[in-house]
């Protein structure tokens, strides 16, 4: 097992009390328990508070554009299938700006793990509604309350039969570590939607709000699609934590490392002759 210290300790720009700290620590623990050395890990992120995560871990990282962390992560995985590829971003980034990439990544089923810090609000831009903000939630940008229904990411992922769909909570770190480990170990696309209180901008979905509703799944058949959908549908009255749905299917991708893959000149010459 790798020592958790290899992933480093960095000063963050997060607010004291933010759920992100617990997620960061849990991720490092999961990586250590999986014995993934920093140079075998690539973390891709978008833009937002959550998306700063890779700056706080010793690893290969690419901190790209708002909403675009998944395409980058999938490109990385295709280029270098030997790497563990993890994608970390907020709910706005992953489900709003990057919504099209989210559903496409599920369908594409490359071996990439998506960790979404779901605080049901836009943190970095100071408190506007996100796709997971509840209808009626009042913000400075939505003074009459958010007008749209909230996006249910796990329900959508299950509906699309994503290979691994889990929900976790930053307030249940031990469970979170186990869930992240299982997601990374899953051979194919995996989603962990991690509920994360934003102490600065979300005064509704607070730590205690989550705590009251969350419970760890027990006796749930992860391979039962209908049961998984039912569980996903409990939100927001109750919040089942754990792996909601799992489907074992060979993922896409191969073992070729593109950095080392070159073409023989004779092959190229032959190809050119196909135009003769």
């Amino acid at each position: 097992m790798a020592n958790i210290d290899v992933y480093g300790e960095f000063e963050t720009s997060w607010c004291p009390g933010c759920g992100n700290f617990s997620i960061l620590k849990s991720l490092k623990e999961a990586l250590a328990e999986l014995d993934i050395p920093p140079h075998k890990l690539m973390v891709s992120s978008g833009i937002g508070q959550a998306a700063k995560m890779p700056h706080y871990i010793n690893c290969h990282m690419f901190n790209g554009l708002h909403g675009r962390s998944l395409p980058v992560a999938q490109g990385m995985k295709m280029a270098n299938p030997e790497m563990t590829v993890v994608c970390v971003s907020g709910d706005g980034c992953s489900y709003g700006e990057g919504g099209n990439h989210f559903t496409a990544a599920i369908r594409r089923n490359l071996d990439v793990t998506l960790l979404v810090h779901n605080n049901q609000i836009y943190g970095l831009t100071k408190g506007q509604a996100s796709p997971t903000t509840a209808r009626g939630h009042v913000t400075k940008a939505q003074p009459d309350g958010a007008a749209s229904d909230a996006f249910n990411p796990v329900a959508v992922a299950i509906a699309q039969k994503a290979g691994f769909v889990a929900r976790a909570f930053s307030g249940e770190p031990e469970h979170l570590v186990g869930t992240i480990k299982a997601a990374i170990e899953h051979d194919g696309f995996s989603l962990v939607d991690i509920l994360q209180p934003c102490v600065s901008f979300n005064k509704i979905n607070t730590f205690s709000w989550y705590k009251e509703r969350a419970y760890i799944l027990d006796n749930h058949d992860e391979t039962d699609w209908c049961a998984a959908l039912m569980k996903a549908g409990e939100f927001p009255d109750r919040i089942p934590l754990g792996v909601l749905y799992r489907k074992m299917e060979p993922h896409n991708g191969d073992g070729v490392l593109l950095a080392k893959h070159e073409y023989a000149k004779s092959d190229l010459k032959e190809l050119l002759q196909s135009f003769a």
């Binding site: 050395p37 920093p38 140079h39 075998k40 690539m42 891709s44 833009i47 700063k52 890779p54 700056h55 010793n58 690893c59 290969h60 990282m61 690419f62 901190n63 790209g64 554009l65 909403g67 675009r68 998944l70 395409p71 980058v72 992560a73 999938q74 490109g75 990385m76 995985k77 295709m78 280029a79 270098n80 030997e82 790497m83 099209n100 990439h101 559903t103 496409a104 594409r108 070729v256 490392l257 593109l258 950095a259 080392k260 893959h261 070159e262 073409y263 000149k265 092959d267 190229l268 010459k269 190809l271 050119l272 002759q273 196909s274 135009f275 003769a276």
Partner: protein
């Protein structure tokens, strides 16, 4: 004087197979040693509409498509009506005997007598055309055998029989057209279009990753890459949108792939933020933008040169780039290869700016010389201690390490960052890193391919052009009476290096910009960069390619 080249236009509705006849014919002519240049015009629909496939061929190089038709092969009556007026004085029409070709000379083909069923009509047309031009049947036989080989011997034989009947039918009649001179050499040539040449140039450069979203007229680059490249190990993905395409390519490039993204104006507009990301993260990326008329959806299957401004300025913030605008199929290949080399050397976005005309224009070319291509720059896979991804260097280029092959960690960042790729808002660091990226532009500037100048220096008139308008300018230049005419052509439109061309402009009597857009984008850009203003413009933006005739008409009012 015998004819130097002829322009054959095959016209009909989509779905009638005119592209099949056209490509088989062009390829047969390429094999027999002719130079060929194809101009395809088609409507954005799968069936019906009116399309043409024009083949201009000759013993000498063909530089441009032309408006004048020597032989019109009409697959329907509409073609005769639409194009009769474009026939040369001694032009002829070849069509079915059920079509009224008026008093124009030519041939009425009794399709029913020559072929047992309509399935073979295209082969009849091919045979008649070949025979009218006094060509050797053997190349046509080769083409049919290759084209129908997969369908089995019977199908091949049936087509060969019909071909022979069509050839003989023409021979039994009086000659309707002068024969072309026979090429001296039957050298090994290739025939491919601009998009195929971009794809092959990319493969020759070791491109092993493609992410794309289909958009005419760029799609055949992707399809060629996949068709030809997947056997070599190219990985490819048709993604959910162009934003994913460019971001996925950036991720792949960061992780060691050599990617290309291919698109057209609308798709490129979506990619713009990604261009900026490639620039700030210093991730090598080649993007091919194949222009069609805009704004927005514009005309999907027509041509234009109106996306220069978009590509020149794409991306927020300031960073260096290079833009190549090939004029010919050959340039598509070599410039694409070069773009890959520069992308890796300078770790900043590179663009190929082509257009629908070139995308679909089959041209005969000498076999690309792979052995003469320079080796492409490569990133490092391993490195010793003290590595900094964004290390400050004199030329701004920081050695690029691909993550994953040694223990050194690599950080790529979209934010402003320090030498180690750590996010920072420090003002001094910002100046250093931003300057470092911009300084790479000096190297790119040193490496600029200067424009080609054709004709005498100090000509009365210089035609200033870029990309695909070259051919029309060259041919028009030869036909202007009483004035000496030069042509200045840019195949790299950015950056510009004044010392490479200012004298040609300053010594010219008058400079006329010839462009396939409505506002003279390149001439205006040149003025902004150099202060030099052209005297007049010949602009075309009806969705059709610039032709020599169009240039000459435009010059009439200027000279």
């Amino acid at each position: 004087m015998s004819r130097q080249n002829i322009n054959i236009v095959i016209g009909g509705a989509a779905g009638q197979g005119l592209a099949t006849i056209g490509t088989l014919f062009s390829k047969a002519m390429t094999r027999s040693g002719y130079n060929v240049l194809v101009l395809q015009k088609y409507m954005s629909r799968v069936r019906g509409g009116h399309n043409t496939f024009a083949v201009r061929m000759g013993v000498d190089e063909i530089v441009s498509p032309t408006d004048e038709i020597d032989i019109l092969v009409a697959l329907n009556a509409e073609t005769v009506n639409l194009h009769r007026g474009e026939l040369a004085e001694d032009g002829i029409i070849i069509c079915g005997d059920d079509i009224d070709k008026g008093d124009v000379s030519g041939l009425l083909i009794p399709f029913n007598d020559l072929a047992s069923k309509p399935l073979f009509y295209n082969t009849v047309a091919l045979g008649v055309l070949g025979s009218v031009l006094c060509q050797d049947i053997c190349y046509f036989e080769q083409m049919l055998s290759e084209a129908f080989g997969k369908k089995g011997n019977e199908v091949v034989q049936a087509n060969l029989d019909v071909l022979r009947i069509a050839f003989d039918w023409v021979k039994a009649k009086e000659a309707v057209y002068d024969c072309l001179p026979v090429p001296q050499y039957g050298e090994n040539k290739l025939m491919l279009n601009g998009n195929e040449a971009i794809a092959m140039g990319a493969l020759a450069a070791g491109c092993n990753f493609l992410s794309f979203y289909p958009m005419s007229p760029s799609t055949s680059i992707a399809q060629t890459l996949i068709g030809k490249g997947r056997g070599l190990g190219l990985k490819y993905e048709q993604v959910e949108d162009e934003i994913a395409a460019i971001n996925m390519a950036i991720g792949a490039s960061f992780a060691g792939a050599r990617p290309i993204v291919t698109t057209s104006g609308g798709g490129f507009a979506l990619m713009v933020e990604g261009v900026s990301l490639a620039a700030v993260s210093e991730t090598p990326l080649v993007t091919a933008v194949v222009q069609r008329p805009g704004p927005a959806t514009g005309m999907a299957t027509r041509t234009e040169q109106a996306d220069l401004n978009l590509v020149l300025y794409a991306g927020h913030g300031e960073f260096p780039r290079a833009i190549f605008a090939p004029a010919t199929v050959e340039e598509c290949f070599y410039l694409t290869h070069r773009a890959f080399d520069l992308a890796e050397q300078y770790q900043t976005p590179m663009f190929i700016l082509s257009d629908q005309f070139l995308a679909d224009s089959y041209q005969s070319v000498d076999v690309f010389d792979l052995d003469a291509l320079p080796d492409i720059a490569k990133p490092m896979l391993t490195v010793g201690g003290g590595y900094k991804r964004y290390e400050l260097t004199e030329d701004g280029v920081s050695p690029r390490l691909v993550p994953g092959f040694c223990e050194t960690l690599v950080r790529g960042d979209s934010h402003e960052h320090d030498e180690n790729g750590r996010i920072t808002e420090d003002g001094e660091n910002r100046i250093r890193q931003n300057s470092k990226r911009l300084v790479k532009g000096c190297g790119l500037w040193q490496d600029v391919i200067g424009p080609d100048y054709y004709g005498e220096k100090g000509a009365d008139l210089v035609l200033l052009c870029w990309g695909t308008t070259l051919g029309a300018c060259l041919e028009a230049a030869e036909q202007v009476d009483n004035h000496s005419v030069g042509v200045l052509h840019f195949k790299q439109v950015y950056p510009l290096r004044e010392e490479q061309f200012m004298e040609f402009l300053e010594e010219a009597g008058e400079v006329v910009a010839v462009e396939g857009n409505a506002t003279g984008q390149f001439a205006r850009f040149l003025a902004q960069e150099t202060g030099f203003r052209v005297g007049a413009y010949v602009l075309r933006f009806d969705g059709r390619i610039m032709t020599p005739q169009y240039v000459l008409r435009g010059l009439e009012s200027i000279l």
